[in-house]
């Protein structure tokens, strides 16, 4: 049954990869990358269960943290053209 979950997640990976290759805008590609990150995280957990080695869950947690930091960094870069741009505080009155 974990094999079934892994197969489904592989299908998800393929479809997201197709969107990342086709995607007309850079945001489509960023969204596809985000989806690939989520699917890989779930697949790491499922592979750990399939092999009877739940240590893979630690890798999944680490991968998830890296994934979100990477997505936010890429978005900030494409939004401001600069990773060091100031954040989005409310304008002070």
């Amino acid at each position: 049954m974990f094999t079934f979950a892994i197969a489904a997640l592989l299908v998800v990976l393929g479809l997201a990869l197709a969107r990342a290759v086709l995607g007309p805008t850079v945001f489509d590609r960023a969204q596809a990358g985000n989806t690939i990150g989520t699917a890989v995280m779930l697949m790491l957990a499922a592979i750990g269960f399939l092999n009877g080695r739940p240590d893979f869950l630690d890798l999944a947690i680490t991968y998830g943290l890296l994934n979100v930091v990477g997505t936010i960094a890429v978005l900030k870069f494409f939004r401001h053209g600069d990773l060091g741009a100031p954040g989005e505080e409310e304008p002070s009155r």
């Binding site: 079934f4 479809l15 969107r19 805008t25 945001f27 499922a46 269960f49 869950l57 979100v68």
Partner: protein, 109 residues
């Protein structure tokens, strides 16, 4: 009892896999960027949550279940944040939704 938990866990995993594939299909087939973002959130929320819940039932009360809960919390908080940042960034770059009145370039297929 164990068979019951097993059956529930398999059902959750099957449903989660189905929702993950549905979300990915939407990500590929929807007509413009914002609808694609909407479809991708199905994979990130319902697919991930059901799959993790099914694995948690398999793990029982143990450290493994706690780690799965941590992964679930991570997805639960970071996925909406990433989607929000993505939508803000796209709007700021004047990527108009498909059905919006013309103002900025319409997002292409």
């Amino acid at each position: 009892m164990s068979a019951l938990v097993d059956a529930a866990s398999w059902a959750l995993i099957a449903a989660g896999s189905a929702f993950a594939v549905i979300g990915a299909l939407g990500l590929l087939r929807m007509p413009d960027f914002y609808t694609r973002m909407h479809a991708a959130s199905v994979t990130d929320t319902l697919g991930a949550a059901l799959l993790l819940a099914g694995m948690m039932l398999q793990a029982g009360f143990s450290l493994v279940a706690v780690k799965l809960a941590i992964i679930g919390a991570l997805v639960f908080f970071t996925s909406p944040t990433a989607t929000h940042a993505l939508a803000r960034a796209a709007l700021e770059r004047k990527l108009a939704p498909l059905l919006a009145k013309a103002e900025g370039e319409p997002s292409k297929r």
